[in-house]
Amino acid sequence: MLNLNELENRWLKYKIKSYIPHAIITLLVISITVLISSLNFDKKETNKVIQKELIKETLKPALKEKVIEKVIEKVIEKEIIKKVIVKSNNTQQDEKLLITPSLDFMRTIQNDSQKYYNTKSTAQKKKKAQQKHLISDVAIEEITPMQNIVKDNTIDIKRRDTQEDIQHVIKRFKKSNNPALSLFVAKKYYELGEYNKAYNYALITNEINNNIEDSWIIFAKSLVKLEKKEKAIEVLNKYIAISHSGRAKITLDNIKSGKLK
């Protein structure tokens, strides 16, 4: 005999039991989905934060780089400016240096020449003293125009090359004190139009050896170029009187006639 009430109760229990796993599964699924969604949300949030941080991190070096670049640019600019300044200074200094040794030479040579003259005969001393007097007057007068020329910055490359050659010869001259070298320098400076230097080196050459014809002619020509025509004629006349040089006479005639200006 069937007990329907009991059977119904058993069925109810069975249904509840059968629904439990479903309920658990649905709860699990819901909780998992909630968890995943929350994790995803967290991840998104953290990702956003990380992205922001990353952006910051990436931007920082970029900014740093930019700053560094700017600094470098500034430094480079400064360096360039400095270099330009230094260059200009150097050029000025170089140009000044071109002047100062000449003066030093003047002084040293003068001193040397004085010693040299002391060893020579008194007759020669008198001649030299006269010449020296003449030249020193001219030299003292010529210092100011030399300084003016220094300010003129119109030196081209060829000229620099020649200048280098001249400097090299000057170095050799300083070592050897050979009048041929100083005469060469004087001629070169005359060709380059640097008549002050040409005058100086011609004078130096004369002081070492006053019998060199070319040094006298260059000396006189330089004086003419430096608008010291009278001095040039005077010097040449004195030299012609001593040496009777034909070339000196021609040069004198050219100066007098105005061919050589």
Binding site: L2, L4, L7, E8, R10, W11, K13, Y14, K15, K17
Partner: protein, 269 residues
Amino acid sequence: MKSNLFNNSKEVFIDSVNHKDYIQLDRVSTIYQSLKDSVHKPLKMILLYGKPGTGKSMFLTKLYHDLSSKRTIHLYQSPILDDSEFFKRLAQDLLNIKYNGDLNFTQFMKILEEYSSDETPIILLDEAQLYSDILMEKIRLLSDTRKIKFVVTLHKTNEEDLIAKEHFKTRIWESIELENASSSELKIYIQKKLMKANCFDSANMFPDKSINLIYKLTNGNYRQINKLLYTLFDIYSNYMQNNPSKIDTNKISNKIIEMSAIHAGLINA
């Protein structure tokens, strides 16, 4: 009226092996026909195997009733475990000789040698897995004489083990497997069974949903189906008597199917 209907429907599903209850299903009919054909072939032994409740006994019963009028056929529904009793039964059925004392295998073989018939008699052995290996070996030797043909049914516990048995491996010429019903076969089985008993109203009470649930609970096993439906109609009958407002008489309720399964032990609740 309805109470009677449910009572009648309940009776349909009483678990009994009666050839009259045999339900013609396409697949089952095909298998049965192949079994019937095998019987006519010169085979020493035929094996009919399947899980419990797949209809093996029904097949043998059906075969017995179909062929009994045409040829010598004997059905041993319950296994005869004693050798002497088995041979004495054979002697009686085949040779119409009744032995009061013991009859051993050697004595029976001597008698069988003298026996001659136009057609080979068929012995249908149900539940053959209960026979001892020695007796099965003696049955094999008897089939070798070609004076008796055996059709044996076995529970399919493990097919490999079954086929591996020496006496089957060498002697079986035909093996037929019976299987559980499919979901669609289940519906046809229930409806045909009810309609066969003129329970048309109850036969129309099974929607596909209920059939699927029954299939789920019984796995298409005929014995389980019978058991469940018997309980189902018993519950309906009870409700009709005691509390008819609680049930819908137009269609089978899944709740009552489950209650039936609980009562029948198919659901552990």
